[in-house]
Symmetry: C2
Subunit: 509 residues, 2 copies
Amino acid sequence: MRDVHIDRLVEIVGERRCLWRPHQVKAYACDGYTAEEGLPRAVVFPESTDEVARICRYLYENDIPYLPRGAGTGLSGGATPTGGEVVISLARMNKLLAVDFDNLRAVVQPGLVNLTLTRRVSHADCYYAPDPSSQSVCTIGGNFAENAGGSHCLKYGVTTNHVVAAKVVLPDGDVIDVGAPFGDAPGYDLLGLLVGSEGTLGIATEITVRILKKPQALRTALAYFDRVADASDTVTDIIGAGIIPAAIEMMDQLAMQAVDKSNYHVGYPTDIEAVLLIEVDGLAAGVDEVMARVVEICRRHRVREVRVAQSDAERALWWSSRKMAFGAMGRISPDYIVQDGVIPRTRLTEVLQKIDEVSRRYGLKIANVFHAGDGNLHPLILYDSRVPGEAERAVRAGSEVLRACVDAGGSITGEHGVGIEKIGEMAYMFSEDEIHAQRAVKSCFDPKGIVNAGKLIPLPGRCVEVKRAREIIEENWQILNSFPDQAAVQARGAFVQEPGREASTSAQG
Amino acid sequence: MRDVHIDRLVEIVGERRCLWRPHQVKAYACDGYTAEEGLPRAVVFPESTDEVARICRYLYENDIPYLPRGAGTGLSGGATPTGGEVVISLARMNKLLAVDFDNLRAVVQPGLVNLTLTRRVSHADCYYAPDPSSQSVCTIGGNFAENAGGSHCLKYGVTTNHVVAAKVVLPDGDVIDVGAPFGDAPGYDLLGLLVGSEGTLGIATEITVRILKKPQALRTALAYFDRVADASDTVTDIIGAGIIPAAIEMMDQLAMQAVDKSNYHVGYPTDIEAVLLIEVDGLAAGVDEVMARVVEICRRHRVREVRVAQSDAERALWWSSRKMAFGAMGRISPDYIVQDGVIPRTRLTEVLQKIDEVSRRYGLKIANVFHAGDGNLHPLILYDSRVPGEAERAVRAGSEVLRACVDAGGSITGEHGVGIEKIGEMAYMFSEDEIHAQRAVKSCFDPKGIVNAGKLIPLPGRCVEVKRAREIIEENWQILNSFPDQAAVQARGAFVQEPGREASTSAQG
C-alpha cells in the first residue's frame, strides 16, 4: 500500500528505486531457501551508504521492520521476508571501488558479484578466494552476511578470513567503520561479529577484502573408490600427512548418477561408491611431488582408478560437474532439500552410514556431495512434493541428519547459515544460556528487534523485544490488509496458508 | 583486608589459593606494561571451570570488580589492576586436557604456557602456530585475551585464526560454550568477539585450538641492506611475487647494535641500515626454489650480503637474536617503551622516515625491530627515567608514532592489545559512534561494568555503567584504607600518586 512511509522512502531513493505494488514486490518474497514466506511491504534499491543510512534511520525511528538482501541465493532463508518488512536490496551497489595490488586489498560494494571481483583482478594474476558454488551470481555482501564458504575453504578459509574491514550501517542508521584494512582492529572484533550475522545486526555498504595472488601451479585428480570407507580414510590420511590440498570434494553413487545425466557428463563408473576430486596448488616446483604423494595415499586405500587432469578443459569439466551437482538432482528427483552439516573428518564413514540408515528408515533417497576435506557434508534429500507427506518427511530426515552431525561433535551448518531453516536445530546445538548470550548481542545492536527478525537466533515467546517485533509485523499486516487491492489479498493468501517449513527446491550449491 | 568477601572466596578455593594480605598481592599490581597501577583486593587461584564460575558469580552479585590474569606478560596493561579488584589468576589451570592428532585439535586450560603446547605435541610432528616472543612464559589464555600474534603470523595468522572453540565463564558466572571444534559455529561469532577482548567480557576456562603439522622443510635467510628503503622494497616485492614466507622480520641499525652487545652476538656489519630475517617453509621439494627466488629479489634491491642458514644452530641463533631484541635494549638504554603499530607494508619506508623525524624532534633514539611482512612495527623508544621529563616525552613520542600509523591507513596495535596503554589512541582511530558500538557490546555482557573495567574501551565520564564501576572501585579503596595495615597504606600511596601513564620497561617482546 502506498502510504506516508512509502512516500518517505520515495523521497530518499526516487520513484524508480522503490517498489511497493504487490505484483512488483512478490519476486522478493523468497530466496534460495523456499518458494515464499511473506510478502514485503516495499523493496528499495539504495545506491550509496548515505541512502542506506537514511532508509534505515527512517524505518527504525518508525518501528518498521526491514531486512537487507543481496542476490537472494542464500539456502537457509536469511533474505526471505516473514511478511510486511521493507526489503533493502543492495543490487545496485555493485561497484568495485578500489584495488590495491601491492597490498592485496580490494574495496567493494556489497552488491558486487563474487566471481566478478575475481574477473576484475585476474589481469594482475590475483583472485578472491571464497568460492561458493553460486559464485557466478551471489554477491560479496551476501557472502559477508552468511560467512559463505566454498570448495577451496579447506586451504583458504571462509569469508570471515578474507574480509578485513567494512563500513556498516547499524540498525538505527548510524554508520561505523569496523575492522582495519591493515593490522588488528583494536577493541572488540565487531567485524567478526557482523560477518555471518545474516543481516540481523547491520548492513555492510563497503567491504574491504583480501585478494590473493593466483597459485603458480594447480594439479587436479579424480579418484574412484569401490567403497566409501576407503575414500574417507584417504581424506584423513592426506591431511594427516601434513598435506593441505586446496580442495577435497566427495560425491557418492547417487550424486554421480545425477551428474552423469546432466550436461556435465564425466562418465563415472556406475558401480563405484565414491569419487574424490582433489586439488593441490602452490609453487610449480612442489605441486607434482605433492600430487604424487596424494596418488600414493589413494593407492594405499584401494583406489580403483586415479587420474590427474591433463588439460585446463578437463579440470574445468570435473569442477563444473561438482559445482552443478545440486542442480543436477533435478534429473533424478522432482524435489530435494540440501542440508549442510559439519563433522570431524575422521568420523566421515560413521556419519555417512548414519545418513544411509536415515535414508532407509524414511524411505527417501539421499545423495551426498560435499567438501570432504573439512568434513562439511551436503546431504541432498530427494523427495516428491506431489506425494502427500513426503515433503514433511524430507524435512524431518534432514533435521535428523543435522542432529547426527552435532552428536558426532560437529555443527548444524558449514556455510549456508541458519536463517529460517535451522532455527529449530539451534536449540539442539546450544544451551539456553548460550542462546541467551546470542540474544543479548542482538538486542544491544537492535533493541527493537525489528531488523531481519526471526532469523538466526531462536526467539522465545517470553522475550520482550521479540514480542515487540511481532506486534510491529502484525500491525503492518493489518495496514496491508486494509488496502483493497486484490493482488495484495491474493498474495497474502499465499502467505497466510503458511505451509510450514517448505522444502527447498533451489538449484544453488 | 580480610572481610566477609575474602571469607567467601576462601570457602570456594581454600585458604592456600586465596591471597589477600597487601604484601602477598603486591606482586599482582602490575603486568608487562608498567611497574604498578593499583593494588588488588585479593588474588584467587581457581583450579576448575566450576570454581571460576562460583568466584565470578559471587563477585558479580556483590558488585566486586575483578579481572582475569594469565602469566602477566602483556605489554599494554590488560592484566594490571586499577586498584581494589579481585585478580583471578588462571596460573593453576595449566593442563593439556586432550589432543586429537587425526583432526589436529588440542583442548587446553588457559594457564598452559604457549610453548609447552608445542612441546607436548611435537613427538607427533605437530606444533601450535602463534608464537609471540614471550612464548616460553606467556599462556594460551593470555594469548586468547590479547589475540596474540608472533613472527610467523604473516603466513599462519594470529590467535583468533587458531582458536576454534572455548568454554567461557561470563561476567555473572554463567558458563557457555562458544565456537565449534569442527565447522562454523551457527549464530553470532561470540568466540571471535571474545578473542582479543582482553578479559573484559568473560574468562575462557577451556580453549580448543588447531594444531598444525610441522612443515617438512624450512629455509632461513639473513639479508644485509645498506639502505632501509631497499629492505622495504624487498619485502613488498617478495609478497608481490606471490610468495608468502613464514616470516619476514626487520631490524634497523640501532636494534642490531643492541643485539650484538647482548648474549646473542650475530656480528652484523656496523654500517648497514637494515637486516631482514626471512623464513620460508613448506614441502621439501619446493623450499629451495622459493628461497632462490627470495635471494634473487634481495639482489635486485642492492642487498649487500644474503646468507641462508646452514644449520639448525645458525637458524636458532638468528631467531634468538630477533626474539630477544627487546630485552637487548637494556644494553644501550636504561629504559624504553615498545610500541606496536601497523601500516600497509608498501608504506614502510615513508613511516620509518616519519619515525626518524619524531626521534630527532623529541631528542630520543628509536630502534625498530618488527614483523615487516605484515607491516607490524615495533618502534622501541629509548629514554632515561632519571632525566626529568624524559619518560613523559617518550610516551608522547610513542603516541605520535601510533598516530602516524593510523594516518598511513594502519592501526594502533598489531598484537599487544589496547589495555590501559592505548586507551587514549582509541579515540584517534575510532569515531564516537564506533566507540559507542563497542561500549554497547561491553554493557551487554557486563551491565555493571566491573569486569576489567578501564581497559580496552575508552569510557566517557557520562556513561552510567562506568560511573557505577568507579564508585565500586572507590568504595573498595575506602574499605582497604580503613584497614590499619602500614603495608597497605604504603602500597596505596604508590597508587595514589598516580604518575600517569608510566613508560614500560618490560623485557617482553
